[in-house]
């Protein structure tokens, strides 16, 4: 509901659907006309995402002016005596911020693709750009969603795009397989999400995020027992709080899948089979963020359930550490980045679970930029290396690719959490929130400790990657003569490099704390918004309903602590891998190396479940079906035909037998009817 109804504001919101529609148009153009276009659809995509970016910025400005929007725009199904299903827009600070992030990264990735795909003469470009367009459309629509149903719809659609784009090089064996795995694992999570969405509809009769009739509000009212519409909800035999926890955890299933959290993280490393710009856009900056964004979007609901929050936090903390440890031993530059992505999303989950809503969103934002940067940087390296990705084949690229190097370095510093790069501020705030709430809650504290340990690993693997790739002597012929890079590759790197460096300044909590300056811009930004969907309200709910309380602790202390760990990790990496000819130190890890390179055998057990167990059960069912169920059917027919064959043998052909049988039959009939009629009495 627009509070200030000036015509500009209204117009900005009127055209907001175009943010999503533009990429959809580029999808259609690329799909049907792509092969006739000069850049095979790239230009359409760039134009569309550029337009989306501008519109998003406009919306952001409008929102900054204090105008918000929460309206249905298209009703799929309306039922008079039951709930409706509709699409709608929810434009508030959170979604406006996310819109800008998504459209910006999408725009840059489209641009980068010109260099990565077009200049390399890849086949199937219309398909590629169509996929990107469809993805951008879906992702933006997901962000715009005003209700959980619409979220689910586009959550699934981004999954489709992910499948399409991971499997872009379908002629090889690995990408289609990876695409399948990605879709299946996330689908497994989405199953729970779907149950959750349906259950939320069944419970609340609505799935809108914001407003007086939204499900978080209804749930809050139900818990508060304050009557209202939320007073008499069906809770399926559980207590209201218990049922809401179940609902939250069900939706969390989808989040774990999409945001690649343990144990559903296994698809993301495999997803690196897709083209690198895709990895940057989908598997780092945006789609993977969808899960986290969803939790943030319905944070008012999660905040009602301390159990759900604790699980979110614990899973996040565990994933952060778990994934970081695996990144340590990877040889493929994209693999390192993939595990680092998993790890970083773990931090966001940790932040959300620990009650640090703003911190998590902050990290979401910074991570989107620096991880997109790192992936695009890696993509640039891969172009230069003629599509080799093994870091041991690189080395010494620093001088050959200066732009790439410096931007990549900026991204790495941000990732490792070195002050003053973006990642430092956001990660630090997440950890701080976990710590202050964790001091009152052992489970949160454990999650915090895992997150903290992961900082060390992050610093280590990040600089191991940087050092192996760019420093030392070139280790192969290709590394000595890298392919040169075009402007379309460099521009996005530079833009993102700047952002990765400075975006953290948007929310310098430790400085603010220390100096007392009002520079926590993101806090301020998210504090406002629609009734019930802003950080201020979340804070209240966390305290009153979930019983979260923060210990008094200086953010500076925590910041110093984590920064020193990150530096220690980076330092260790420098010690081990800085020379001209770094050694394979991983061998020294012994059995642990095997465990880490095999990803703790996570893939194995999941593949075992999916293939051996799944197909085993399926085969057994098939045998049962063929043997028993169909066997009965065929058995009935065989028995009938067999008995038919017996029956016809009665007809011996000898007429005397017939006379005998006839007589016997008549006598039997006489006896039978006689007995029934009582003739013999």
């Amino acid at each position: 509901m627009a509070e200030t109804a000036t015509s500009t504001v209204a117009f900005a919101f009127e055209v907001a659907p175009a943010i999503a529609i533009l990429p959809l148009a580029s999808f259609v153009i690329a799909l049907f006309a792509g092969k006739y276009l000069p850049k095979r659809g790239a230009l359409a995509g760039i134009t569309a995402t550029g337009g989306s970016l501008l519109l998003s910025l406009w919306v952001m400005l409008t929102v900054a002016g204090g105008a918000y929007y929460n309206e249905e725009i298209y009703t799929l199904v309306s039922t008079p005596d039951s709930f409706d299903l509709h699409f709608g827009l929810l434009l508030d600070p959170l979604s406006a911020l996310m819109l800008v992030i998504v459209s910006l990264v999408a725009f840059l990735v489209h641009l980068f693709s010109l260099g990565y795909m077009n200049d390399e003469g890849e086949p199937g470009l219309p398909r590629y750009y169509a996929g990107l367009g469809l993805f951008t459309f879906s992702m933006l629509s997901f962000v715009l969603s005003d209700n959980l149903f619409m979220s689910f719809v586009f959550f699934e659609l981004v999954g489709l795009c992910s499948w399409l784009l991971i499997g872009h090089w379908y002629r090889e064996d690995a990408p289609p397989s990876a695409a399948k795995k990605a879709f299946l694992v996330t689908r497994f999570g989405d199953y729970f999400f779907l149950v959750g969405v349906v259950a939320i509809f069944a419970t609340f009769g609505t799935a809108t995020f914001a407003g007086a009739e939204s499900f978080p509000t209804l749930a809050e009212e139900a818990l508060a027992g304050s009557g209202g519409a939320g007073g008499e909800l069906p809770t399926f035999g559980l207590s209201a709080q218990g049922w809401f926890t179940v609902l939250g955890l069900l939706v969390l299933g989808g989040v774990l899948g999409k945001s690649a959290q343990f144990p559903l993280h296994t698809w993301l490393p495999d997803a690196m089979e897709g083209p690198t710009p895709v990895s940057a856009l989908i598997h780092a900056a945006t789609m993977v963020a969808a899960g986290v964004y969803l939790v943030a979007r319905m944070y008012g609901f999660y905040a009602l359930s301390p159990t759900a929050l604790a699980i979110v936090a614990f899973v996040g903390g565990f994933t952060a550490l778990f994934a970081a440890s695996m990144a340590v031993v990877k040889r493929d530059v994209k693999q390192v980045l993939a595990y680092s992505t998993i790890s970083q999303y773990g931090y966001m989950m940790l932040g959300l679970g620990a009650g640090g809503y703003v911190a998590a969103v902050f990290h979401l934002m910074t991570h989107a930029f620096f991880k997109a940067l790192l992936f695009l940087g890696a993509g640039a390296v891969i172009i230069a290396m003629h599509h080799r990705q093994d870091m041991w084949e690189m080395g010494g690229l620093k001088n050959k690719l200066p732009v790439t190097y410096y931007t990549f370095l900026a991204g790495s510093l941000a990732l490792a959490g070195i002050v003053p790069f973006a990642g430092f501020w956001s990660k630090d705030e997440v950890l701080y929130e976990a710590l202050v709430h964790g001091l009152n809650d052992p489970l949160l504290l454990a999650a915090y400790l895992m997150g903290l340990t992961a900082v060390f690993f992050t610093g280590f693997y990040t600089f191991r990657m940087v050092l192996l790739t760019f420093h030392g002597e070139p280790r192969t012929h290709t590394a000595r003569n890298p392919h040169s890079l075009g402007w379309s590759v460099k521009t996005p790197l530079v833009v993102l490099g700047i952002l990765a460096t400075v975006i953290g300044l948007a929310n310098m909590t430790p400085i603010a704390e220390a100096t007392g300056l009002e520079i926590e811009f993101l806090h301020t930004w998210l504090e406002h918004g629609l009734e019930g969907v802003n950080s201020e309200h979340y804070g209240e709910v966390l305290e009153t309903v979930a019983g979260y309380s923060a210990a008094e602790l200086s953010p500076l202390l925590a910041a110093v602590f984590s920064l020193s760990l990150a530096l220690a990790g980076a330092g260790l990496a420098y010690r081990l891998y800085s020379g001209d000819r770094p050694e394979h130190h991983t061998d020294r890890l012994g059995a642990a190396k095997r465990l880490l390179t095999d990803n703790y055998y996570q893939d194995e057990y999941q593949v075992w479940i999916a293939q051996t167990l799944g197909t085993g059960v399926a085969r057994a069912s098939d045998r049962f079906d063929q043997g028993v169920v169909d066997g009965v059917v065929n058995g009935v027919s065989s028995v009938s035909l067999f008995s038919g064959d017996r029956v016809r043998r009665v007809q011996t052909g000898i007429v005397s037998n017939y006379a005998t049988l006839l007589t016997l039959g008549l006598v039997a009939l006489l006896v039978g009817v006689g007995l029934a009629g009582g003739w013999f009495l």
Binding site: R648, Q651, T652, G653, I654, V655, S656, T660, T663
Partner: protein, 100 residues
């Protein structure tokens, strides 16, 4: 005056003798004769009961049966004749080309 039950017994006995003949004899002509016996058992009944009830229906009907029995035998003999021509025998159990 013989009570009507005795006629009934007599006819039943003759009927059974005829039936027994059919079941045991393989010669087509014996078969025919046995059928005649059975039909005549029915005639005995009809006549006896006709007498008992004092109406002539039964007696008249017995004449019809006799006539029809003759016609039946005529057709029967014809068939037995072609049976003999085709199978070289009047044994009814020999003709078993059609069965099952």
């Amino acid at each position: 005056m013989v009570a009507v039950q005795y006629y009934l017994l007599l006819s039943a006995a003759i009927f059974c003798i005829g039936l027994f003949g059919i079941l045991t004899r393989r010669n087509a002509l014996f078969f025919l004769m046995s059928v005649e016996l059975m039909l005549n058992a029915a005639n005995i009944n009809l006549v006896a009961f006709s007498f008992q009830y004092g109406n002539l229906t039964g007696q008249v009907f017995s004449l019809f049966i006799t006539a029809l029995a003759a016609a039946e035998v005529a057709v029967g003999i014809g068939i037995v004749l072609v049976l003999y021509r085709n199978f070289g025998d009047v044994d009814v159990t020999k003709a078993t080309t059609l069965r099952w």
